[in-house]
Every structure is written in structure tokens, then in C-alpha cells.
Symmetry: C2
Subunit: 269 residues, 2 copies
């Protein structure tokens, strides 16, 4: 673990990341000493920082730190957290705040066998609030995800709707529907987190000639889809076999996207 | 500063308060060695913990810590933060997580002279998202307040509406309207933070025979009110002299509530 480039696993109780969740993060896998899609993760981190007015550490700095950590942890989950830094009391951010950046490393989880072949998805009772100013950003205000995750412990993943009942995302994943030659994924301009893998899937789908629709998605559409799958930078792609009373028996439709998660650095690094 | 009862000013980067804003807090003043309304603050802290399923440290434990800190800091702002504690990776909380509790102490701020006689309030562009599961709770997901505070640096306080345009609160305060013999304050069941001073004002208003209405409040009502004031456990009561183009020249209507903030422990401790 590194805190502002220095080995350590603590930070100040005056850090705004702790006090207000005033920061952003990204989670990526390192496999065999190769960080998966690090430039894409950095780009998202930087965009999210910019939306919140946080000074993002530069790519060279974070890349050098990452390179220094990998020899000891060549196969692991790496989490990069950037906060607005230390605070005097009060919500108003000082414009000259020096950001805090933290690398946290943990083991790559072992998922149940069914995950490659089809997961169970459950509807969360919690509905995501619409906040356009924070939508899409992977920020540190994640209480909605915490409460939703606590609800869905008996399924592989929970499905989150917004307050209007539209499909938004999984608790820790983005969601895709396939219907004929169309790939559909929810618009995230009101709420939700726009993951790196979501961008990769969208770009790849266009490349292979699918029609891609990023728009509002009703729950009825998900239930009627030919296939549904979830993406996340740690677990990769999970086809959905079951959502409440809906079943998908033929999961072959999603196989074409597995290439994005199995061929290492091959496409859209 | 105390972290889990031990002098210190750092905490683990694996603390869920940092990772997800998975915690709650309260801020109170200690004046001349007397903590202002500590039992009420504790009650709120405990209620908020319960709503999030966090095990709140007990009153005796926190009171003893507070008593130990006061001799060295007899006039200060005390912030008590309780988080769900350490986390393994992932949003789902472990049911047996041992909570983290932190005391942070800072100087009582010196406010501009106008604050006692009438502050300027400005409308924030940011609208509060409706999330009933988190409404009222003083939790650590405070990015909306951070962004709103950054907008309103040229006024004493910012006024926050919800996405439907209803009046909810100040960036760091609760808001009250007076109209005839009625005291009106926004319902906080969709969003907003229910402060200790809000409860005290409501209880006192009933005691002195005012009709109290806790309900949805339109912005037009605020503009038409006989008086508007703000409350907060650190600054106490601020009468509003100006909100955008609205002016309140006679601020005597709010004087009756100053007793709650000036007579020390006298009422509803």
C-alpha cells in the first residue's frame, strides 16, 4: 500500500476523502505483472477528478508508483483512490488543496464456478437517487451501493433501478442487454457509475457491427432481452442466467465479448 | 484527537468511512468545559447508526472519552465520527464489523459581525437528490454539500432545494420560516440532514405556543415569509437578512429563539 507515494496504510482523519467522501477511485487487475487497461482507468480517474474540481496526480507519477508495486504483487487487485486532500473544518474546499492519492492492493477474488456460465441477478429494493452533478463518477459517496449490497447477499449481483424504475446498473457492475443485433446499455447521466469495461464493450460492439444504444432502459426490456450481461474490471464479464423469474438458458450470445476480458491487452488497452 | 479511544490522528485506508463514506457524524460545541446538548447529539448519532445498521458505541463510552478531552480543550468544536469499521474489498458490509469512532477537535470559528444581525443566503444551483433511505441522516456521503459550498462562497450560507424545487436546508444548516404565528420547516424525508438544533427549535416553538408545520416548502413561501432563520450546532441561530432579491429588515421575530442558543444548558439539553 502507498499513501502519497510512501509505503503505509493510514491517512489523516482530516482527509476530505474520509470526512465527506470527497474523492474518486478506480479498481483494476494486475495479471502476470501487467496492469489491465491502466491508461483507460487513468483517463476515467482524471475525468472524474476534473468533474469534482480535484487536482488529479499526473499519469507519469501514478504509473511509476504502479510499476514499483507490481514486482511484489504481480497478480492482484489494485485500487487507486484520489481525494481532495486535507481540510480545515467545513464543506467548502480550499482551491489550493493538495490531493491525497492511495494505492491499495488486495487478492484477486475467487468467484463461484457459475459466474462464467451464468449468474443470478436480484432486484434491489433501494432505488438510486438522480443527481446529475455526480452521475457517472466513481466517487467515494457509495452508501447507496453499501445498502444495496447488504440487500442482495443471496444472489451473485444486485440490479439497481432509479427512482423512476429505470434500469441503471449492477451494485458493482454495468449492465448490458442484447436484442437482435442491438446492444443496449443504460444512460448514466442521472445516476450510476460509468465503468472502464462499459466503454470497452461499447467500442467493441460498434467495431463488430452491432447497433449500440445508450439510453433509458425499462425493466420490462431487460426481462424481454435475448441476453443480459454484466461487466466489471475485476470479474470481467458475467452472463446473467437468472433475474427474479426470468431465465436465460442460451448464454452463447455473450461469448463474443469474452475476448475483451480474456485476450489480455489485445484490444483497446 | 482520539481514534477508537486512543490518542491519534490517523486511520486505516481500509476503513469503510474512507472507502465508501460508510459512517455518520455529529458536530457539537464545548464551551467553558460544558458540551452543548451532548445527549441530544448522541441520540441522533445512535439513530443514524441504526438506520445504516452500524453498531454505535455506547453513550457511557463516548461520554467518558469526551470528558477526558475537555480539560485540555474547554472551548472547541468537537466532531464525533462513527464508521462501520474495517472492510474486506467490496461494498457488502460484514455483519460483525467493529465500528471505528473518532473524536476530532477544532477551534470555534469566528463568524463575521453581520451573522448575529442578519446573514445573506444564496440559492445554490445544485439540487439535492431524493434518497429516502439516507434522508435525515448525517452520514459521510457529503459530496452534494461540498459542491454546493463551493458555489456559494460569496454569501454567508447557501440554500439547497431538491430536484422538484422544494426548499430543503442550508448547506450546513436547517432552515425555518415564520409566517404569522406559524413556524414552518421543511420535511426531510426525501433528503437533507435533521440537525439537533432543528429538533430543539421545533420543541421550543410548540412550548411557546407557535403552530409548527413540518412539511414541503415551496421557494415562493420562503420569499413571502415574515422571517427566515438558519440553525446549526456551531453557529447557533442566524437570522436571514437577504436571500437573492428578498430582504428582511425587521429581524426581531427570531429573537425569541436566541434563548435556545444563549442560555447555555437551560432548555432541552
Amino acid at each position: 500500500m502507498l499513501v502519497n507515494g510512501v509505503p503505509g496504510n493510514t491517512l489523516s482523519i482530516r482527509d476530505r476523502g474520509f470526512l465527506y467522501g470527497d474523492g474518486v477511485f478506480r479498481t483494476l487487475c494486475v495479471r502476470e505483472g501487467r496492469p489491465q487497461h491502466w491508461p483507460l482507468h487513468y483517463q476515467k480517474l482524471q475525468n472524474d477528478c476534473e468533474k469534482l474540481g480535484i487536482n488529479c496526480p499526473d499519469f507519469a507519477c501514478l504509473s511509476a508508483e504502479l510499476a514499483g508495486l507490481m514486482p511484489a504483487h504481480p497478480n492482484a487487485v489494485y485500487k487507486m483512490i484520489v481525494t481532495r486532500g486535507l481540510s480545515v473544518r467545513g464543506y467548502a474546499p480550499a482551491p489550493d488543496a493538495e490531493p491525497t492519492h492511495v494505492w491499495d492492493i488486495s487478492a484477486i477474488p475467487a468467484y463461484p464456478d457459475n459466474c462464467r456460465t451464468g449468474v443470478t441477478l436480484r432486484l434491489c429494493a433501494l432505488r438510486l437517487a438522480a443527481q446529475p452533478r455526480l452521475a457517472g463518477i466513481k466517487h467515494l459517496n457509495r452508501l447507496e451501493n453499501v445498502l444495496a449490497a447488504a440487500e442482495c447477499t443471496d444472489a451473485d449481483e444486485g440490479l439497481l433501478l432509479d427512482t423512476e424504475g429505470r434500469v441503471i446498473e449492477g451494485v458493482r457492475s454495468n449492465v448490458f442487454l442484447m436484442a437482435g443485433d442491438r446492444l443496449i446499455t443504460p444512460d448514466l447521466s442521472r445516476c450510476g457509475v460509468a465503468g472502464v469495461q462499459r466503454d470497452r464493450v461499447i467500442a467493441y460492439a460498434r467495431e463488430i457491427g452491432l447497433s449500440v444504444e445508450v439510453r433509458d432502459v425499462e425493466l420490462a426490456e431487460l426481462c424481454a432481452a435475448d441476453a443480459v450481461f454484466l461487466t466489471n474490471s475485476v470479474f470481467g464479464l458475467w452472463p446473467v442466467a437468472q433475474f427474479e423469474q426470468c431465465r436465460w438458458l442460451d448464454l452463447s450470445r455473450t461469448v463474443q465479448f469474452q475476448v475483451l476480458f480474456e485476450q489480455d491487452e489485445s484490444w483497446l488497452n
